[in-house]
Structure formats: structure tokens, C-alpha cells
């Protein structure tokens, strides 16, 4: 058992690094281009800021980190390595408090997890991966196919149910998702399940009607168990830009988001928006998705992520 986790760890680290390779290498090379030991001046700080902007850190955080690099170092000679280390340290400072694992409270039976997010962010796939993970930990998992809007979303979740051995509660396409959540939670209670994962349809956060529908899902869940949902996870796509701020805001207001999951970090996308989100909302980041297979959903660690963003460590 220990062996497998030992071999798995570098694997996910490598995956994250390769996912962030473009980020790191672009930051790395961009920084190297101008800081092969030269004087730190206004122009250099501007360039550092630009580099961070390109990684989706947003205008405020980029400006702040660039400024932090300048503190006490103005007019001194500085190398690319130094800059990267400082950037990584600053990023880690922001991310460290939000890198928290998702704790399943065994006293809650079932522990209800509601997945929310915009269309195509990867909710259903993340549920499948979480189901596999929880099952492997010896928990009894149940899935609720709450995406009753998208064609074949129910079928997609059923495939995951078969793969992980978790029963799937589903209705028909177009049926009421709140009603389904009610049925599923009741069933999970009767069946003494440890964890219930509820899928929801993807919705854009500015659609009032769809957000009202989500509010209703939460309300109905509370009718069965007033303490539920015990975790509401907002799934964010790594390619998303500054719009993620608006997503966190709106979904938190409607559904009471308790934590974030970032998917698709295996692409060229940089995920730097997590830094901006951490600074503004301080919501825990539980998992990052770095690939298509089940073990590619990994706990989020601030130091690794920060290093990968700044390009201080190739990870090998």
C-alpha cells in the first residue's frame, strides 16, 4: 500500500508540472530573458508584472507580487533564479492557507457533496473520479444524476457508476433536479451510504432562472437533512480567466460553495486565477485534475503549485 502511494506521488507531481510546463517555462524563459543579472528597476518590475498577467493572476495580484519583488531590492543586481524564487514564495504565501484537503465527516451519514459549476467545467468527470477515490478508501458511495438537462449526462454518470461500483440514482432527462436530489438523499439514508455525490447541470452564473433552480436543489436537500449539503464544490476549468471571480461570487451566494476543484491542468492553461481567487475569497482548494484517468485527481498542494507556476523546479 505504501509502495503504491510512493510511486504515485511523483507521477502526479510530474503530471502537474507537465501541465504547467508552458506556464513555468514561459514565466521561466520570460524572466530569464531579462534578468541574467541586471539592475532591478521599474522596467524590470513591469516585465515581471506582465509575465504574471499572462498567467491569469489578474491585474491586482500581479501588481502586488511585482511590487513585493521590488521591496528592498531596488537598484540591486538580481538573477533570474532569484526572481523565480521570490515569485514562487509570494505565490505560495497566498496559496498555502487555501490548500486544504476535503475532510469527510464520518458522523454525517451520508456525507452529502454537491457539485456545481458552469457548463463544461468537468463536474461529471470529477464526480466519477471522486467516487473511485472514496470507494477505494472503503466508503460506500452513491451517485445522483442531477444533470437532467444535458443530453446523455445521466448515461455518462451511469458509466462512472459501473466503473466504480456505486449505485446511481437517476430520473429522466428533463425531470426536476431538486426532486431527484430529494429521492437520492432519501435513498442514500435508507441504504446507510457514507457519501452521496450529487451532480448538477452546468449553468452560467448570470442566468437568474438557472441559479434559482440551483437554490431550490439546496433548499430541498436541507428538507431531508438540515445540515446538508456538507460540501459544495465549485468545479473550475483551468483555462478560465478573470470570469472565475464572478463564478465564485455567484455560486457562493446561491449554493454556499465550501471549496474549489480545478480541472484540466494538463493543458497549456496556467490556472493562475487560483492565486487571485485565494487572495480574494480564501475558499479552500481541495483537488486539482491533471489528466483523464482516475488517479489524476490529486490533492492541491500550495508549494508544488507555486513552484510550478514560477518555474523554480522542473519536478524531475
Amino acid at each position: 500500500m505504501n509502495d503504491t502511494t510512493e510511486t504515485k506521488k511523483p507521477s502526479w507531481w510530474r503530471r502537474l508540472s507537465s501541465g504547467l510546463k508552458r506556464t513555468s517555462s514561459s514565466i521561466g524563459t520570460a524572466l530569464a530573458e531579462f534578468v541574467t543579472k541586471r539592475k532591478l528597476d521599474r522596467a524590470m518590475l513591469d516585465e515581471i508584472e506582465d509575465v504574471l498577467l499572462r498567467a491569469d493572476l489578474g491585474t491586482e495580484v500581479s501588481a502586488r507580487i511585482a511590487a513585493a519583488v521590488g521591496v528592498g531590492r531596488y537598484d540591486k543586481m538580481i538573477s533570474a533564479g532569484d526572481v523565480k524564487t521570490i515569485v514562487a514564495a509570494e505565490v505560495e504565501k497566498v496559496l498555502a492557507p487555501v490548500a486544504q484537503p476535503l475532510v469527510i465527516d464520518a458522523a454525517k451519514k451520508p456525507f452529502v457533496i454537491l457539485m456545481v459549476g458552469v457548463n463544461g467545467s468537468g463536474k461529471t468527470t470529477t464526480i466519477g473520479k471522486l467516487a473511485a477515490k472514496f470507494s477505494a478508501e472503503g466508503r460506500k458511495v452513491m451517485l445522483a444524476a442531477g444533470d437532467t438537462f444535458r443530453a446523455a449526462a445521466i448515461e455518462q454518470l451511469k458509466v462512472w457508476g459501473e466503473r466504480t461500483g456505486a449505485p446511481v440514482i437517476s430520473g429522466t432527462q428533463g425531470s426536476d433536479s431538486a426532486g431527484l436530489a430529494f429521492t437520492a438523499l432519501t435513498a442514500a439514508k435508507d441504504d446507510h451510504r457514507d457519501v452521496l455525490l450529487i451532480d448538477t447541470a452546468g449553468r452560467l452564473q448570470n442566468k437568474a432562472e438557472l441559479m434559482n433552480e440551483l437554490e431550490k436543489v439546496v433548499r430541498v436537500i436541507k428538507k431531508v437533512d438540515a445540515s446538508a449539503p456538507h460540501a459544495v464544490l465549485l468545479v473550475l476549468d483551468a483555462t478560465v480567466g478573470q470570469n472565475a471571480l464572478s463564478q465564485v461570487e455567484a455560486f457562493s451566494r446561491t449554493a454556499g460553495v465550501t471549496g474549489l476543484v480545478m480541472t484540466k491542468l494538463d493543458g497549456t492553461a496556467r490556472g493562475g486565477i487560483l492565486v487571485a481567487l485565494a487572495e480574494k475569497y480564501k475558499l479552500p482548494v481541495h483537488f486539482v485534475g491533471v489528466g483523464e484517468s482516475v488517479e489524476d485527481l490529486a490533492p492541491f498542494t500550495a508549494a508544488d503549485f507555486a513552484k510550478a507556476i514560477a518555474g523554480t523546479d522542473s519536478g524531475s
Binding site: G120, G241, N243
Partner: protein
């Protein structure tokens, strides 16, 4: 999606327009703010830089300083530069090839390829009268092929039968064969989502392309994408070769920076945009109109076009005639409400109105949604014919009955009646002028007679049926476009508070506190 950017740019440029003369420092300060606004809108840094450089260069030139209203000149330069960045002309899907014309869809996971494929198929079938075959080449994501099959079944569009165990390239070959044998005009190939770093998957996309030799290769990209949009578009373009881009989730509240970026770095046109969850929510991408939207000038042309494709020209003419005579009864109002719901409801229409960005958030806050329209229709449905013709006879007992019939309260019946009175009054006033039902809208917006009459709408419908879009902005339509930032004529004219043009005293709209 462009609302936030419009608000920001609008504010910055407004400050400029108010000034009598501009110094170089003024322009510099404004450009710094524009840069920030664009970055916050997820426009990629390299595009932002070249954009602000170009605008600055022109703005500091002699023409601006000498012009009477330098601020407005700058606005015009920003507008023109936006259009240039977005691509000057609208480009549509090209079907000029020997049928079956293959169209291949590529993109990241979750960008909306399958939904877009179905939307495009529906449009080609219903609007362009083509026979379309859809094929899913996604053998990876669970139930991806079923998703397309279900969409096809719902839309009554054929999909290639699923054969287990085939590779994407094999399926592509089978799809082309089937399309040839079946006499289809177009075959849409929906490929699996892939990241550009996955060499195997990118090679697969290239292989599919080699097998199918598609006439169009469309990158389906999420308009909420951040700075990565440029890498993404560039990588797909160099590794697979694109002919165009489809932007999805344009109805979100993203600021649309991805649109600017991807067009700028690839030079490939944005051909379509997805504007909603339903399969008919797909629109052509018109750069000049989008630039107008970004600057908060509204998209009046799209509004009119939308009206043209949904309005029943004859009914519209009948209503117009009644209006001229000042006989606008509740049945007519019901007709109007119904047409509003057909045209995409309140939300759909609002996005196209000039200067509405700020009001939009108020409306969202007041929770007016399309249910209101349906309820109002229900109230009118609960009336007798006599009552609809002559609302004056409605007294307490009748109102009670109507409220019960619609499942609502008497207050809501009163609200509707008040709204009808306001509308009737306004229309009487407008009806004395010339023009069709849209004239009220036009007048309220200060566009004079720029709005089409029913006859013109009918002509437009014919034009649309032939597959052609509308001509670009009619010259006399938005004078504000040439003059500079919209002064929002009419919108704020009445009481200093925004009112919805042409819709009169819609409850909760104009009078939102």
C-alpha cells in the same frame, strides 16, 4: 458577455468625451485605464499592448487635437480599432464545395463542441435547407456519442449509427461514405476534446483531417477563457489548421477578451457564437456590431434582425394599423408579450439594447424574468373577449375572477392594466407618426425613422430566407456611432431614469428604485 467591458470602457471614454481639449497626458492616462480594462476582460497581454499602442498613436495625431470634440474622436478611434482587431467583415460558414461538405469541430474538453455541432446542424437544416449528417468521433468520454445521438433524435437530424470499437479516423471515413451514399449536403464531424499538449491526440486530429479533408475546420472555444486563449488558438491552428472559430457561452458574463485575442493572433475569423443553452441559440458573428456592444452602443441591427426572424409581419402590420388608430387593446398586448418571449425573452432582448448594461444588473436584482411575461399572458388569457377589447369594464369582481383564473393576485391584474394604459397612451402618441410598431422603439431611442416598417421587416424576412444576412448598419441608424459614445437618447430622457424604449411603463423596468 461584453457588459462589464462596455461599462468599464464606457466610463473611461466618457470622461474623455466631456473634455474640450486633450493633451498627450490625457490620452496616456486613458490608455492606461483601457489597458487595465482589457486585461481584466481577459484580452491577452500581447493583443492589449498592440491595441493600446495603435490607438495611442492615432489619438495623439493631429486630427484629434484639432477636431472640435477630441474626446469623441478618441472614442471613434477605439471603436474602429476594435472592429479592425475583431476582423472587419462578418464571415459565414462556407458551404461552397462538392457535397457532402465535411465540417470538422475541434477544441478543448468541455468547450461545447457537441452542443455547437447540434446547433449548427439545426441551423443548416432549418434555415439553409440542407440535408445534414452528424457523426461523433469521440470514443473517449463516456456517453459522448449517445449525447449527439440524443440531440440528433430530438432535432430530427440524422446521426451516423454508432459502431463499437472503431477508431476516430475510421468513423470519419465511414461518415463521409455514408454521407455520399445517403445524398447528404453536409457532414458534421464532432471530435473528442483534446489538450494541445497531448501529442497523440493532436496527431489524431490531424489524421481525421487528412481522412475527411474538411472544407471547414472550426475551433470551438469558450468565451470565458483567460490568457490561455492565444496559446490554444495558435496551437490548434498550427497543428491542425483552422478555417474559423466558434465562440461559445457568449451569453455568460465574461468580458469577451478571448474573442479579441484569438482573432488577433490567428487571423482566423470568428464565424459563429453560441448564445444560450437551447439548440437555436447560435448567431453569426458581426465584428462591427460586437465592437458596438463592447463600447455600450448596443446592437440595434441584431435586435432588428431578431425581430425580423420572429415577428409575424402580417400581425405586426395589423397591430401597427390599430396603433395608428389608437385602438391598442389587451389582445394586441398579448400578441406583443408573446412575441417578446419568442424573441428570446427579456434577457435576450436587453443584451441588444444600447446602454442597457447597467440596467441589466438592476433587472437581475429585481428578479424580473421571463416568468413575468408568461404570467401576464396568463392574466389576459383569463379574460373574456369583451374584457380584452374594453378593459374599462373591469371592476372588482371581474378582476377577482381573472386573478383566480390566472392563479395570481388582484394587484398583479391591476399592474398589468396600468401597464396596458401606459403602452396604449404611448402608442397613441407614437402612432400619429409614421412607421411601424418598431417606430416607437426607434423614436424612443432617438433614431428617428431609422426603424423598419412592417413592409421592410417582411422584405428582411425574405432576404433571410434566402440565406443572406442583413446588410451592415444602415447609414442613418445609430448616429451615436459616428458621433462618439452613445448619449443614450431617449433612454434617460424622460425622468432621468432609464426606461425601456417602446415598451412603455413595463412594471419594474423603468421605475426600478
Amino acid at each position: 458577455m461584453f457588459d462589464n467591458l462596455s461599462e468599464k470602457l464606457g466610463g473611461i471614454l466618457n470622461r474623455l468625451t466631456r473634455r474640450g481639449s486633450l493633451t498627450e497626458a490625457d490620452v496616456d492616462a486613458a490608455m492606461r485605464e483601457v489597458r487595465r480594462a482589457l486585461l481584466e476582460a481577459d484580452v491577452s497581454l500581447e493583443v492589449v499592448k498592440s491595441f493600446t499602442d495603435k490607438v495611442r498613436e492615432q489619438a495623439i495625431g493631429a486630427t484629434v487635437v484639432k477636431s472640435v470634440t477630441p474626446g469623441q474622436m478618441v472614442v471613434k478611434i477605439v471603436h474602429d480599432e476594435l472592429v479592425a482587431t475583431l476582423g472587419s467583415d462578418a464571415q459565414i460558414i462556407d458551404l461552397n464545395a462538392v457535397p457532402p461538405v465535411p465540417i470538422m469541430m475541434v477544441g478543448l474538453q468541455g468547450s461545447g463542441k457537441t452542443t455547437t455541432t447540434a446547433k449548427l446542424a439545426r441551423r443548416l437544416t432549418q434555415r439553409d435547407k440542407r440535408r445534414v449528417l452528424m457523426a461523433s468521433l469521440d470514443v473517449y468520454r463516456p456517453a459522448a456519442m449517445e449525447q449527439l445521438a440524443i440531440l440528433g433524435r430530438d432535432l430530427e437530424i440524422d446521426t451516423l449509427p454508432i459502431v463499437e470499437g472503431q477508431q476516430p479516423a475510421q468513423i470519419a471515413r465511414r461518415a463521409i461514405e455514408a454521407a455520399k451514399l445517403g445524398g447528404y449536403d453536409v457532414v458534421l464531424l464532432d471530435t473528442a476534446g483534446r489538450t494541445t499538449l497531448d501529442d497523440e491526440m493532436m496527431a489524431e486530429a490531424a489524421e481525421i483531417k487528412a481522412v475527411a479533408s474538411p472544407h471547414e475546420v472550426l475551433l470551438v472555444a469558450d468565451s470565458l477563457t483567460g490568457q490561455d486563449a492565444v496559446n490554444l488558438a495558435r496551437a490548434f491552428d498550427t497543428q491542425v489548421g483552422l478555417t474559423g472559430i466558434v465562440l461559445t457561452r457568449v451569453d455568460g458574463d465574461g468580458r469577451g477578451g478571448a474573442a479579441l485575442s484569438m482573432r488577433a493572433v490567428t487571423g482566423k475569423p470568428i464565424k459563429l457564437m453560441g448564445t444560450g443553452e437551447k439548440t437555436d441559440a447560435l448567431e453569426d458573428f458581426h465584428p462591427s456590431r460586437i465592437a458596438g456592444r463592447i463600447l455600450g452602443m448596443g446592437d440595434v441591427v441584431s435586435l432588428v434582425e431578431k425581430a425580423a426572424s420572429h415577428l409575424d409581419a402580417e400581425k405586426a402590420a395589423a397591430v401597427a394599423e390599430k396603433m395608428r388608430k389608437g385602438q391598442f387593446d389587451l389582445s394586441d398586448m398579448r400578441e406583443q408579450l408573446l412575441q417578446m418571449t419568442k424573441m428570446g425573452g427579456i434577457g435576450g432582448l436587453m443584451g441588444l439594447m444600447p446602454g442597457i448594461a447597467k440596467m441589466k444588473s438592476q433587472i437581475a436584482a429585481s428578479r424580473i424574468d421571463d416568468k413575468v411575461l408568461n404570467r401576464q399572458i396568463a392574466i389576459i388569457d383569463s379574460m373574456t373577449r369583451q374584457e380584452r377589447k374594453n378593459p374599462d369594464i373591469l371592476k372588482a369582481s371581474r378582476k377577482k375572477r381573472i386573478a383566480a383564473g390566472a392563479g395570481l393576485k388582484v394587484e398583479e391584474v391591476n399592474k398589468l392594466l396600468k401597464m396596458h394604459r401606459n403602452m396604449a397612451d404611448m402608442m397613441k402618441a407614437v402612432g400619429r407618426g409614421k412607421g411601424g410598431p418598431m417606430a416607437g422603439l426607434a423614436q424612443a431611442m432617438g433614431f428617428g425613422g431609422g426603424m423598419p416598417s412592417p413592409e421592410q421587416i417582411k422584405a428582411m424576412q425574405e432576404q433571410q430566407a434566402q440565406g443572406g444576412g442583413l446588410p451592415e448598419l444602415p447609414k442613418d441608424l445609430p448616429p451615436s456611432l459616428r458621433g462618439g459614445l452613445p448619449k443614450l437618447p431617449g433612454l434617460t430622457g424622460l425622468s432621468g431614469k432609464p426606461t425601456l424604449p417602446g415598451l412603455g411603463g413595463f412594471p419594474g423596468f423603468g421605475k426600478k428604485k
